[in-house]
Amino acid sequence: MAHAYTPGLKVLHHSKVQKNRRLPIKGTVTKQVGDLLKPDEIVATTNLPGNVQMVKVANLLNIGPADVLDAMLVKEGDIVNKGSMIAQTEGLFGFFKTDVKSPIDGTIESISDVTGQIVMRDAPIPVEVDAYMTGTVKEIIPEEGVIVEADAAFIQGIFGIGGESRGYMEIVVSNREQELTADLLNESHKGKIVVGGSFISLATYKKALSLGIAGVVVGGFNYYDLEEILGYVLGVAITGSEDLVTSLVLTEGYGNIKMGKRTFDLLNEHHGKFVSINGATQIRAGVIRPEIVIPLKESEIPDSALYESGEKGIGENSLVRVIRAPYFGKMGKVISLPPELQKMESETMVRVAIVNIGDEAITIPRANLEMVEVD
């Protein structure tokens, strides 16, 4: 049987989800293997070196760089307080002295008699990494962090903004075709993850922000409107560091596109659960997609065999979704994968799949299909 490998987005009822929770630099791991974790629990801590200030002592004292060492009242490694005197000229007969005061609380890192400036460093910045999701410490990464594992339902989106977020999930629409409109949101949704259907408008998203909603999961959003939220035109899809109260996860793409049935049904099944989401997206080599992790209690784990992601690829009868116009968003089953190149309307010669969409056999370039990975 013919096959084509087209990775798709995951929509899984049960998966062993693993997350690397690492510090940006080495530090202390505060948990042990086997520890049960809540999303907010700290798993590792460290101190980032403080910011650096450079002070042009020679200029401020009006002396040559070579004379700076003599004028310094402190030496490399000394800790100084903001406003304390760190350098002073001898003056004239002990009068008319000029001095330099420390602009920060910090450490003298280096003194240069070439440039006449000193490098000072702010106090270290503490950094903590939390568990992100409910789970168990599977492995310790020495001095760096832990690997958290959870039995969970797992859904990938196509694009998101805003970083990690968490909260109780509430489905506020009655079906996947329904737009998430402003009237469906209220004060009770504060701190929650809200799931809509096909689309969220800019005005509704703004309302979600103002209500302090932790996250929104929906089919589509207008690319055009991202600029107003981000403050810049999104040129490349690398997101996650935006400082947004409400993370946004799109499951389908830009525009008004009804949410995939399996995605919606799975989210609906877990209405009311405490979930973790991450809007971070990176579309480059080593792609990162936004995600929704729904940890499962032991009693909730389905009996069916655990899904294992493989490189199964698309074959006959695979369930696929079209990811480009003119059939964008349509789903169907693959009827056949003819091996020979075929000419499209655009005259592009491509490998195709024949897909059954609404009882019609339609020819689609394989590159424009994604497999819907389901368990």
Binding site: Y224, G255, R324
Partner: protein, 608 residues
């Protein structure tokens, strides 16, 4: 040494491409090509796996043995193996550098030129006078995590404090390399030779410091070659060593592995020198667009890091503006709909245009990506470029702002395009139109595309330095470049000057190879195509009174020009090209220009 067969690979971020070159009847030809996914990332984490897979595809197609297990058989033994194996690489995002200089427009710019010429992506140019405060520079260095830093500044024997200050900033930032935690970041110092000791003292053991000749020994002379060579050496010694499997790959190759754009650049440089022509080459990819040029014997390269056709397609829209993209789209489309479609291409970058409308949109964006990249290139390719160049003091101060770009479109002989949207356009006329509309050649310019993007492999072939192989390898690279790499599209002839609607801007008299003649009076704003293959054609070209075709206003040129798969294109449009603002007129003009070169099949409305 005679080379009977050459195997060359280019390990790209996503695909590893292999080609086999063989000497057939005394001439080097490309015989087979194979490709396989690059295997730098998990689960394989060994680049040689992808190389072997691509070579295996060639083995199957050629029906000959090249591999013995996991080894390339070399030299050739009977019908087995190849004489030499070479490779380029841009896997893992290529070589990413940060450069620093004291004055941004002087040593900063020279350092940038050296880094770009060596084939790297320049992530940032830091300078004493770039307007950023020290702590901002430090944060930037920490955030960027480059593969390598090139530090320059000061003329030999000049003041040392500024360049040492830059070193102090570097020291305070304590930069870490992007790949691998267990090696020190390579830093090349190519500044004031009198500051070398202080630089050593300042940077100390924190980085892997390498000192080379000053990039700007005196104000009016630039000396890029030593820095360029050092970058290549360190790329091999440090950066590539960190990438999975490269140690093994380096043992296999008969010449050092080059960064892909560095190899393309050196090939273009060689072609221009050998044939004494001016060249502009472009490679438009998913994330970036590289432009190479040789004018007045001087080579320049620029990388427009976020102008590409998939990963950064939305950035093209952002930088060009919706209006500029829309003006090339030959049908009416709602603006929101258009931006959503482009956004969806960004988040699903591997999709292909199935409908004609999607193709229209992609090619409209390509025109703008190319146009913007070329503007950036023209601004950067100023008169100081070159390995070494004598300049007067007064030139030294206005090198980037005065607009004395080396790029002169009237002098351009050959424009070569490559990258998916140009090389794989369904019709060659589409590539031709995209090149003309974006680069707006003037006078007489030959157009070509790289058929399968084999310029990287040919570039590294042309750069083999082993004495017994060098000459033969260069011959092979040139022969394959002309015979198999270039698809000659044709020649574009554009008179330039002020003209009124309806008047004749050019009279063209052509004598075809079969002796027949063609005469055409080209009107303002008209595009006219004469279908004729790549053969010499005698041409007498007489521009209108106020128009110039290369010899001056109203001056006739008699010369030999060449056709191609598209033919001779007479372009009567303004420079820059004027597109009507009225929607109906605009659609009419676009249709006329398309029809002139038979660019698209008949368009029917597609329902979404």
């Amino acid at each position: 040494m005679e080379l009977k067969s050459i195997l060359a690979t280019d390990c790209g971020s996503t695909t590893t491409k292999a080609i086999l070159i063989q000497k057939i009847d005394g001439e080097y030809r490309l015989t087979y090509r194979g490709e396989a996914p690059t295997t730098v990332e998990a689960p394989f984490e060994d680049v040689t796996r992808g190389v072997l897979n691509a070579v295996m595809e060639i083995e199957e197609l050629a029906g000959r043995k090249i591999l013995d297990g996991d080894h390339i058989v070399s030299p050739m033994n009977g019908d087995e193996g190849v004489d030499i194996y070479i490779s380029t690489s841009s896997a893992g995002g290529g070589l990413q550098m940060m450069v620093a200089g004291v004055v941004k427009s002087m040593s900063g710019e020279s350092a940038e030129r050296a880094a770009l010429g060596a084939g790297s992506i320049v992530m940032d140019v830091m300078a004493s006078n770039d307007g950023r405060l020290a702590h901002e520079k430090i944060k930037r260095i920490r955030d960027l995590r480059p593969d390598m830093i090139l530090l320059s500044g000061g003329i030999d024997g000049g003041t040392i404090s500024h360049v040492v200050e830059l070193a102090e900033i570097l020291h305070a930032a304590n930069p870490k390399p992007r790949l691998g935690q267990n090696y020190k970041l390579p830093v090349i110092y190519a500044g004031n030779n009198k500051a070398q000791d202080q630089i050593r003292d300042t940077l100390g053991d924190m980085v892997d410091l390498d000192i080379t000749e000053n990039i700007r020994p005196v104000l009016e002379r630039e000396n890029l070659e030593p820095s360029r060579d050092k970058i290549h050496d360190l790329f091999m010694e440090h950066v590539m060593q960190q990438a999975p499997g490269y140690k093994k790959l380096m043992e296999w190759t008969d010449a050092p592995i080059m960064p892909t754009p560095g190899a393309v650049g050196s090939l273009i440089e060689m072609i221009a020198e050998k044939e004494n022509i001016t060249v502009v080459g472009v490679d438009i990819g998913g994330a970036t667009t590289d432009i190479f040029s040789v004018f007045e014997g001087k080579f320049n390269r620029t990388v427009s890091a976020n102008l590409g056709m998939s990963y950064s397609i939305c950035n093209v829209l952002a930088e060009a503006g919706l209006e500029n993209v829309l003006r090339w789209v030959p049908f009416d489309i709602n603006q929101k709909e258009l931006t959503n479609r482009i956004g969806n291409k960004m988040i699903r970058p591997t999709t292909v245009p199935q409908s004609l409308e999607e193709l229209f949109i992609e090619q409209a964006i390509a025109r703008e990506a190319l146009r913007l990249s070329f503007i950036q290139h023209k601004e950067f390719a100023t008169s100081l470029k070159g390995i070494q160049k004598e300049r007067t003091i007064s030139d030294a101060f206005d090198q980037s702002s005065s607009g004395n770009s080396l790029v002169n479109m009237m002098d351009l002989d050959l424009l070569v395009g490559s990258g998916g949207v140009l090389s794989h356009a369904p019709r060659r006329a589409q590539s031709t139109r995209m090149l003309i509309d974006a680069f707006m050649p003037e006078g007489i310019t030959q157009l070509a595309v790289d058929s399968i993007f084999m310029m990287p492999q040919l570039g590294v072939l042309a750069n083999i330095e082993k004495e017994d192989l060098a000459e033969e390898a260069r011959i092979a690279a040139l022969e394959v470049f002309h015979n198999d790499c270039l698809v000659r599209l044709g020649t574009c002839i554009t008179p330039v000057g002020k003209s009124k609607n309806g008047i004749t801007v050019l009279k063209a008299d052509l004598i075809m190879p079969d002796g027949s003649t063609i005469h055409h009076d080209l009107k303002k704003d008209e595009l006219f195509c004469i279908e004729v293959p790549y053969e010499p054609i005698k041409a007498k070209l007489t521009p209108g009174k106020k128009m110039d075709i290369g010899a001056g206003k109203g001056e006739t040129i008699e010369t030999t020009i060449y056709g191609g798969v598209v033919g001779i294109i007479l372009d009567g449009r303004d420079r820059p090209i004027t597109i009507p603002t009225d929607s109906e007129e605009r659609l009419g003009a676009l249709k006329n220009w398309s029809d002139a070169v038979n660019e698209y099949p008949v368009h029917r409305e597609v329902n979404n």
